[in-house]
């Protein structure tokens, strides 16, 4: 069961202790003696598009790793190139084509979202360009046989059942509505959650990317009168949806996954977010003190969802470069055989690009701020 001593889903506020920085975590600074020239890394993902905050969190993590690396290694200045996919599957292939047609780029962090990852995966594959996603969680991504795909976190085959468990055990919900958006991520996760909920799933409905009026869904939820609602999608739609649920007087607990876990949700949903919960395969960053402080200094804000994961993924690529790798094939090989501890977890990928052991955490809104709740075991 969840690692908590309360039986009310952590409502008492006593969350689990966040993991602190492992002693052997890889550091982008390395030994400071690396030499290299003319190599670049890329970040590709949403920067200004929809759900931009989710991308920004990662991007700052990436930037931090590169900055720390470059400051420490005067002889090896790695250039970070940024590409804005706006998070949308239809834009990503075109953008990723631009990434791969820059021969200096030998490794990439991204893409953050599952849908775009799926759309652009073949292009990375064609170009043999290794890309480590710090956040795309759709399980199917690892099943396409792409040799260049690596996932730096757990997938939704883990998050889904964990979320179901949290909802039914910690939140003690007997009737649950699962609402999903139309993204690869939302659909996949919803399926995993629904399967795990079994008979406790009492209603389900769909929303669309960029939808703003949820009257129909709200009506449906209202008449099902659930104890909890799981929204499988991103904050852009989740915030107004939560507001409209609240307006309609729906009192069920609102649970969102990693795609909803962002301050933007809290801001957007206003009073409706007061009692919201989140599940996320992301590790709380507050106890990684060094990281937390340097990030805050660089970005001017606290780390968010997947900032540490973005940092970790970049660090691994930088390690390869520091080893003297200059080309895509070399870096791909390096990542494939990587075995080492990072800030958030141990990284060693199987032949599909998945990690062996991952964790899922829950978070909640406390006083208008997202705070960690419990880890789901």
């Amino acid at each position: 069961s969840a690692r908590t001593d309360t039986n009310s889903g952590g409502d008492s506020g006593s969350g689990a202790a966040a993991p602190s920085k492992p002693a052997d975590a890889a550091d982008p600074k390395g030994d400071g003696k690396a030499t290299c020239s003319g190599v670049s890394l890329a970040y590709a993902g949403t920067i200004n598009g929809g759900n931009a905050a989710l991308g920004q969190n990662i991007l700052w993590g990436v930037k931090l790793a590169v900055q720390q690396h470059n400051e420490a290694n005067k002889g090896c200045q790695v250039d970070l190139k940024q590409f804005d996919t706006e998070g949308s599957p239809d834009k990503a292939p075109g953008i990723v084509t631009q990434v791969i047609s820059d021969p200096k780029i030998i490794g990439a962090v991204g893409l953050p979202f599952s849908g775009e990852s799926k759309a652009a995966g073949p292009i990375f594959e064609q170009a043999g360009l290794v890309h480590v996603t710090p956040s795309a969680t759709n399980p199917d991504l690892a099943t396409h046989g792409w040799k260049t795909f690596f996932r730096a976190l757990g997938n939704d085959a883990v998050q889904g059942p964990a979320a179901a468990k949290f909802i039914t055990e910690n939140l003690k919900a007997a009737k649950v509505c699962v609402i999903k958006d139309d993204s690869e991520y939302g659909k996949g996760l919803a399926k995993a959650v629904s399967d795990a909920l079994g008979s406790k799933l009492t209603c389900s409905d769909d929303v669309k990317t960029k939808q703003t009026d949820f009257a129909a869904v709200v009506g449906k939820v209202k008449s099902a009168n659930p104890d909890a609602i799981f929204y499988s999608g991103y904050y852009q739609e989740a915030a107004p949806f939560a507001t409209q649920l609240n307006d309609a007087g729906v009192k069920a607990k609102f649970v969102g996954p990693d795609g909803v876990k962002d301050d933007e949700f809290v801001k957007g949903a206003g009073d409706a977010s007061a009692a919201a919960y989140f599940t996320c395969p992301c590790v709380p960053a507050d106890a990684f003190t060094d990281f937390f402080n340097s990030y805050k200094k660089l970005a001017g804000q606290e780390p968010g969802t997947y900032s540490p994961e973005g940092y970790d993924a970049t660090t691994i690529l930088l390690k390869g470069i520091d080893k003297g790798i200059k080309d895509r094939a070399g870096l791909l090989d390096f990542v494939k055989n990587y075995d080492g501890q990072g800030l958030t977890k141990h990284f060693k990928w199987d032949d599909k690009g998945e990690l062996a052991k991952t964790t899922v955490w829950t978070y909640k809104v406390d006083n208008g701020k997202i705070v960690k709740n419990v880890e789901i075991k």
């Binding site: 949308s88 599957p89 239809d90 834009k91 292939p93 075109g94 084509t97 631009q98 791969i100 047609s101 820059d102 849908g115 799926k118 759309a119 652009a120 995966g121 073949p122 292009i123 064609q126 170009a127 396409h144 958006d181 139309d182 993204s183 690869e184 659909k187 669309k208 990317t209």
Partner: protein, 382 residues
Amino acid sequence: MNAHHTASPPAKVSGMQTMRDKWNSLSRVQQWAVLIPLVVLIYLLPVLNPPLLTTEPNYNFPIAMFDVARYALIAIGLNVVVGQAGLLDLGYVGFFAVGAYVAALFTSPDSMLHKLPYLAVLPLAVVVTMFFGVILGAPTLRLRGDYLAIVTLGFGEMVRLLADQVPALRGNSGFQTVGHPPGTRADGTALFNQTDGKPWYWLAVTLVIGVLLLVGNLERSRVGRAWVAIREDEAVAEIMGVPTFKYKIWAFVIGAAIGGLSGALYAGQIGFVNNQKFDVTTSVLFLAAVVLGGSGNKVGVMLGAFVIAYLPLRFSGIAEYKYLIFGLALIVLMLFRPQGLLGARQRLLAKGREAYQRLLGRPEQISSDSSLVAEPGKEAGA
């Protein structure tokens, strides 16, 4: 009674004008002598990657050129509908989408349908979109112009929304690994892939030339004349013996076919099709290409397509203000050249060149664009 008539056509002296006049007075052979090297040059563009023209490093140049060629194809198709037949179509993206989805459905492993080779899918996309052209056209082409505009807009939206709703069309998730033409390189990789724009560009340019010739044939035939007559005065066209409904459907169907073709081409190159690319804004961009270049003029609309597709890629430094600049450019351009960049009228007679020359000793009055000349009757009218 002609003794009293004085009005003779205005002598225009703008640079573009004299160039066009010169061009018109060249013989066919001379024209070809200019055209053939030009075409060769066009084919070589992505290889030459000329310094000023290039979009790199912002954007891969061959792919940029492919985008331009694709837009040109679209503009030619839409021009048949809007420029020639005068049917305002705000949902042209619908046909484009249908073409893309046909390609995806029959080649992507994500689809449950039978797999076909990509080259077989191109004609199939054309046929299917033609069918959609009839489906949309038959009930709606009797509507007056502006009603047609909103109905076509609705059609475009419906295609997009249906792609959302019908699970077989996979909504936002879309179709992966859409097919491409056969052929491999020396190193065993596919000749047509998502990363090398050149083969795609050549394919697109070839299609553009083919379509240009065919559409040109139509234009200089009773079909093209019927379209223009309908555009000018539908009731009178009908009374002068033009089966207007039939020709409007044909315009729609031919436009649809070209739209579908470019959709399939797009799907193949980008390799991925989902429901996000086919919104009204895209339709509007297509239309802007046509009007900007000079509605009714094939060369003009290709120029318009170039402007619309190329400029944002070339000047992506100003990415943030892209649409602002784009909007301002539309307004300003329309103000200074209301007839479009190349607003010349099209030729409607297959034997017209020779006829006018032989009979009158001077070329056809191809271009007295008096849209520059304010006419009192039209002053207030939008």
